[in-house]
């Protein structure tokens, strides 16, 4: 291993000579700067190689030819090597992005950059407490210089505040160091830790001062206003260095002094870190200014990392490996993501302090596709989505905490993470979509010809550093995942597919569609052996559905950039949910699905608010699910069934799934997400993706349903939740003018029936549930596909702007007709089977009131279904839609296939019911059975085949009579009606479509006042208010910040005394 002293020598020499070198030109001197930083990186890599692969142990280096205790020691171990690499990596990225300001400012800027990074590296390497101080000061003073180097007003203001806080911290540190020397007799860290004098009594206080200084430098809540101001105002590169490199160095300093800390100290670190995490994120939620928001996120993340290291020591979460994995993973995630985001914020002109009016640039438009991918990766990583390091770290952390039953900590961490996800993704959405959407401000969903197309912001060279950070995140995430033995290729398939399809994103759409289908097929083939009966059923809906929608995606020409990769990734993620064998593997697949579907929603036109609430609820549900999974040992392991240990955690799983399924109360994300995404993506979300939640609920209930606490009551409550979902989904649907909103609410209602049926919890109920799920997939697919065609042809989603399309789009009409007959449960189509099964099992179970309400709900469904078909296809056409044609083949072919399937399973119910009953029969005693073609329940019977025959026969009879009696009618145009004794002159007025159910609204509208939305809005307001209150602390007055620092230290001291 190279002696790191040479690096210091080289850095200093470079820095010292820089003013001379600068005489040769700024290019040369900057090259020297980059070379110096790169040298650190190269050496750090060589250390890592030696330590991890060549098997060399950690090594200490003396200085001046002496060793400790006389001389200062430097140590190179794994954490040091990684820290050095992080610092130089961030430094190089930031320095690259700062090329212009560095070239324009005096050479002092470049000089302080080198010394700053050298100082941070010194903090990492040194094992001497006073030397640590020296390097802290090098780093701080260089930082003060760097903050001011390009002379921004705001940065100067912030820099002064930064100095005040830094000065207080230095004083604290010096006092701590000298008393540590006094009580231990050593300045060398390892020797001081071995000396007895530091533990108990005055030594504890000495260590406290040391610790307090480091904690203050780590920017704890509330003593961090100075740092946030600096993040906000300095050059983004400097912010990146502060947030990434400096935090790494300081965290490693904290890590270093950990051996000196007692329990009370550790508790203080943990408490302070967690409080910072929570408060930082809450304050960030209110931030509109991007840079400041990233600042809040930074302090929060660093607080969490610090807390994790302390918690491991306090609770014994898993030792060194655990800390490396979790704290290291979180830190790596944070520093790469934050570096990338800070630099990205400057590249897109979100850097409000930037000179010369560039601040408005962001308002002009959306990111270019490449930029959007980079931004997406960075933001997703920051939020802790897979496959990035933060995801693995979060899982491991929560799992360990659950092992210690620290539920409050889990709640705190996840709650704050959710808030963070909210504001980070809100920003992502804003920059990806642009401030002004493509649609005019007027009518929702209409494309006005003159509306401005948003400009694509091209990042150019500014994207390089963020892209590199993103790439590093991907690589490290994959490596970490592999390390945690999530190595099943099928689990990674979604990412592979997305990457490949993104790579050929410019290719024509049909090629990508075919590739997506092939990917789904290949996945199914590879996974076939691992699919049991239940999983096969769901594979049809999930993989088959995904492939079908990929096919349908061809209905619009062009490359449709971004759609196919996301659709394919989401499809394969659904597949991997089916094949996951471990809890982590499952959760990985689940979050992958959440991520892919979020991006899919985001791709829609006016989807900003919808996508945000989709992902926030998605993550919230996922967090509940995660806690449930880790709280039940052995959950999701193959063949696990109810163990006595599983109790209330199952409720968490169920609650998480209910959120995902959009059960009433947690449904507010649903209509927006389904309505605003691309039309075929909506169909995919509604008919395929929602079944993933059903699948997991089936598995979870199968395993743990019998050991639920208060089993009967719980199930009854679950049933009522499902029932309420069904009823209110239908009620909401009838008042929508937007066709996709109607379908969205309808989906919610249909899933409600599935939940209700699952809650019945016997063979009949579960048969019903699976049958309903499969049927919903069939007819909701038909509806969404047909509607996609309609929307494409007429260019609007408002039903009252359509009409009379039956003549133009007869096939779509037929498809919708079949679908709504099936959906409403009118015999002889298979939908009736669902109704029959549902009522039979409800009555058999004795849930009579539920049955009546379900009957009411299904009657209400008629309303919106009739409105759907009537206002679109019947009535009077719009003159502007005279040239509308039938939907493209890409849509009609799948619809045709689905119609055939629908007829087949309607006429021969056993086709669908036999497999279902085989699956369900493994878990329950039989209630239903087949006698020939008749399905028999204890209460009644239903013969699908016979009823189909009778209906067809009767229908044919009537039809023949009609034909036979038809006396050469004169077929007239659609407008040819007699209306108040005249032919209508302006046909629009005669199409009864808008506010179709006005009387119903009058009678029952009070039920649909969107209380759920209001509740969650109130929750949001509450979080907002708390965040607003917290950030009132940050008055902007540097002196108040100083007061905060001192008060923080005092409070910590008193708390520690109390412990």
């Amino acid at each position: 291993m190279v002696n790191p002293l040479y690096l210091f020598a080289a850095s200093l020499a470079a820095a010292f000579l820089l003013p001379l070198v600068d005489k040769l030109g700024r290019r040369v001197s900057l090259a020297l700067v980059y070379a110096t930083i790169a040298a650190w990186g190269a050496v750090a890599l060589s250390y890592l190689w030696a330590l991890l692969y060549a098997g060399v142990g950690a090594r200490a280096f003396g200085t001046a030819g002496f060793v400790a205790p006389l001389a200062i020691m430097l140590r190179v171990g794994p954490e040091e090597a990684a820290g050095l690499l992080a610092i130089s990596g961030v430094g190089l990225l930031a320095a690259g992005a700062m090329r212009r300001p560095l070239a324009e400012a005096p050479i002092g800027g470049a000089m302080t950059l080198i010394t700053a990074l050298m100082g941070m590296s010194g903090i990492v390497l040194t094992r001497d407490l006073f030397n640590l101080f020296v390097f802290l000061e090098i780093a701080s003073i260089s930082t003060y210089g760097l903050i001011a180097f390009d002379d921004r007003r705001g940065a100067l203001r912030a820099g002064f505040k930064y100095m005040i806080a830094g000065g207080i911290a230095s004083a604290l540190y010096l006092i701590g160091v000298i008393y540590v020397y006094r009580f231990s007799g050593h300045l060398n860290l390892d020797m001081a830790a071995a000396a007895p004098g530091l533990f108990g009594g005055a030594g504890t206080i000495a260590v406290f001062f040391l610790l307090a200084a480091l904690l203050v430098e780590l920017k704890p809540f509330p003593a961090n206003g100075w740092a946030i101001d600096a993040y906000q105002t300095a050059d983004p590169g400097v912010s990146a260095i502060l947030s990434g490199a400096s935090a790494t160095a300081l965290l490693l300093a904290l890590w270093k002094v950990m051996p000196l800390l007692g329990e009370a100290h550790l508790a203080a670190v943990a408490g302070s870190g967690l409080a910072t995490f929570a408060a930082g994120n809450l304050a960030g939620a209110r931030q509109g200014r991007a840079r400041r928001m990233l600042g809040y996120s930074s302090v929060a993340q660093v607080g969490l990392v610090a807390a994790v290291a302390a918690l491991d020591r306090l609770l014994g979460l898993g030792g060194l490996r655990f800390t490396y994995l979790v704290a290291g993973g979180l830190l790596l995630n944070h520093l790469l993501a934050k570096t990338g985001l800070f630099l990205l914020s400057s590249a897109i002109g979100d850097d409000e302090a930037a000179r010369g009016g560039a601040a408005g640039k962001r308002g002009e438009g959306a990111l270019s596709p490449f930029g959007a991918v980079v931004a997406g990766v960075l933001a997703a990583a920051l939020v802790g989505l897979p496959p990035f390091p933060g995801f693995w770290a979060k899982w491991t952390l929560i799992q360990a905490l659950a092992g210690r039953e620290s539920w409050w900590l889990i709640a705190l961490i996840l709650g704050a993470s959710l808030v963070e996800a909210f504001y980070v993704l809100r920003w992502l959405i804003a920059i990806v979509k642009g401030e002004a959407g493509a649609l005019a401000k007027g009518e929702r969903g209409t494309i006005e010809p003159g509306a401005p197309i948003p400009a694509r912001i091209r990042l150019g060279a500014g994207a390089l550093a963020p892209a590199l950070a993103a790439a590093a995140l991907v690589v490290s995430g994959v490596m970490l995942g592999w390390n945690l033995s999530v190595s099943d290729p099928l689990l990674w398939a979604p990412f592979a597919a997305a990457a490949i399809l993104f790579a050929i994103d410019r290719a024509p759409g049909w090629l990508k569609s075919l590739l997506s289908i092939a990917a789904a097929a290949a996945f199914g083939w590879l996974a076939y052996d691992r699919l049991d009966g239940l999983r096969q059923l769901f594979a049809i809906m999930l993989l088959g559905g995904g492939a079908m929608y990929s096919f349908a995606a061809m209905y619009k020409g062009g490359a449709r950039r971004g759609l196919h990769p996301l659709l394919s990734a989401a499809t394969l993620a659904l597949g991997s949910v089916l094949v996951a064998e471990t809890p982590l593997g499952f959760f990985f697949a689940w979050e992958t699905m959440t991520l892919a579907s979020f991006l899919l929603v985001l791709r829609g036109r006016e989807s900003r608010a919808a996508a945000l609430s989709y992902i926030v609820f998605g993550l919230g549900g996922a967090f509940l699910l995660m806690v449930g999974l880790v709280a039940i040992p052995g959950a999701w392991s193959s063949g696990s069934t109810g163990s006595a240990g599983a109790g209330w955690p199952v409720f968490l799983i169920l609650a998480g799934l209910l959120v995902k399924l959009g059960a009433l109360g947690a449904h507010v994300w649903l209509p927006g997400a389904y309505a605003e995404s691309d039309d075929e993506a909506s169909g995919f979300l509604s008919s395929s993706l929602s079944k993933a939640g059903v699948f997991v609920m089936v598995v979870a209930l199968a395993a743990f349903g019998r050991v639920l606490p208060f089993q009967a009551t719980s199930m009854r409550i679950l049933g009522w939740i499902g029932l309420a979902t069904a009823l209110f989904g239908a009620l909401y649907a009838i008042y929508q003018e937007d066709i996709k909103k109607t379908l969205a609410w309808s989906s919610m209602g249909q899933i409600g029936y599935v939940i209700l049926a699952l809650a019945i919890y016997d063979q009949a109920g579960w048969t019903t549930a699976l049958y309903l799920a499969l049927n919903h997939f069939l007819y909701k697919s038909m509806l969404f596909l047909a509607i996609a065609g309609v929307i494409q042809r007429v260019g609007t989603r408002n039903m009252y702007e359509m009409g009379g399309l039956i003549k133009k789009m007869p096939f779509s009409f037929l498809s919708v007709l079949m679908a709504i007959i099936a959906l409403s449960g009118v015999p002889p189509l298979s939908g009736f089977g669902g109704k029959w099964l549902l009522y039979s099992s409800l009555l058999e179970k004795g849930w009579y009131i539920e049955a009546a309400v379900a009957f009411f709900a299904s009657a209400v469904a008629f309303l919106y279904l009739f409105r759907l078909i009537h206002t679109i296809f019947l009535g009077q056409p719009k003159p502007s839609q005279a040239m509308v044609r039938e939907a493209p083949l890409a849509l009609t072919i799948p619809q045709g296939l689905l119609m055939v399937v629908l007829f087949a399973v309607s006429a021969f119910p056993r086709l669908m019911l036999d497999p279902i009953m085989r699956v369900v029969g493994e878990a329950f005693d039989p209630v239903l059975r087949f006698e020939g073609s008749a399905l028999v329940s204890p209460l009644g019977y239903w013969d699908g085949t016979l009823s189909m025959i009778v209906t067809i026969a009767v229908f044919a009879l009537c039809f023949l009579w009609m034909i036979a009696n038809l006396h050469n009618p004169q077929t007239v145009k659609q407008f040819n009606i007699v209306y108040a004794a005249e032919r209508p002159f302006r046909p629009e007025t005669t199409h009864y479509a808008w506010n179709f159910y006005a009387p119903y609204e009058k009678a029952l509208g009070f039920l649909t006042r969107h209380r759920g939305e209001r509740f969650w809005a109130a929750v949001g307001t509450g979080v907002d208010a708390v965040g607003g209150a917290i950030r009132r602390v940050y008055t902007g007055n540097g002196q108040t910040y100083a007061l905060h620092v001192v008060l923080y230290v005092v409070a910590l001291y008193l708390l520690m005394g109390a412990l």
């Binding site: 200093l12 002092g108 409070a1051 001291y1053």
Partner: protein, 232 residues
């Protein structure tokens, strides 16, 4: 009012932490093992009469290197911050108040003397109290006098930069020589240890302290120059 209460509380709380600590530390009655080790070994190992210097330059020479870096970074920061361009056109201060003739004459006389005194201090740092930092300040004082006596004159910026850069490089180079010819970076034993108490003793300690002195002097002068507003 609120602020006053909080400040008082903060100070009282801080006192509650700091004063007991200071009291409990008390007064040592003899040096600890580490200090005793330095006192006993420094003259023998390094030939330095001034143990503090031995520690500062050699045992903890790495600290001193860092210290120089701190000063360097501060100078660079100040220099980058306070340029004429950034301070505005009427930047330079003290213009128009010409120094008295006495000061001018005295400056001429004193400059040389002060520089020589400064050099003396850092070359004898290993023998007597004082060393590179103190000597450097003395040199800076000489330059300060020049700044005051001739407000319209500019320091030869190039010369200062050159001295600063080269002395810094020389410091690093001496450190490297220690790594090559002795046991480690900044090891002063590349030259003979000599007899304790003579000028040519303690290996390269006097040399190192000299370049530190030059470097510190140049940097402090740079800070003064920047504060005066003469930086381009």
């Amino acid at each position: 009012m609120m602020r006053k209460v909080l400040v008082t509380l903060a100070i009282l709380g801080f006192a509650l932490a700091l004063l007991p600590l200071a009291y409990r530390a008390g007064v040592q009655d003899r040096p600890g093992a580490l200090a005793a080790g330095y006192l006993d070994d420094a003259p023998r190992e390094l030939g330095a009469a001034n143990v503090v210097t031995a520690i500062v330059v050699s045992y903890r020479g790495f600290d001193t290197l860092g210290e120089v870096a701190v000063l360097f970074a501060a100078t660079a920061g100040v220099g980058a911050m306070l340029t004429k361009k950034r301070l505005g056109p009427d930047a330079a201060s003290g213009r128009g108040t010409p120094a008295t003739e006495v000061l001018r004459t005295a400056t001429g006389l004193l400059t040389g003397l002060l520089v020589m005194f400064g050099v003396y201090i850092f070359t004898h740092g290993h023998l007597t109290p004082g060393g590179g930092f103190q000597g450097g300040v003395v040199i800076a004082t000489a330059i300060l006098l020049n700044l005051m006596s001739r407000p319209e004159s500019r320091l030869s910026h190039g010369l200062m930069t050159g001295i600063e850069s080269l002395s810094g490089a020389a410091y690093v180079a001496l450190g490297l020589l220690g790594a090559i010819f002795a046991l480690g970076f900044l090891d002063p034993r590349i030259l003979p240890i000599g007899r304790v108490g003579s000028l040519l003793s303690a290996g390269s300690v006097p040399l190192i302290y000299s370049v530190i002195g030059l470097k510190v002097g140049a940097e402090l002068s740079g800070i003064l120059e920047a504060l005066k507003g003469d930086r381009e």
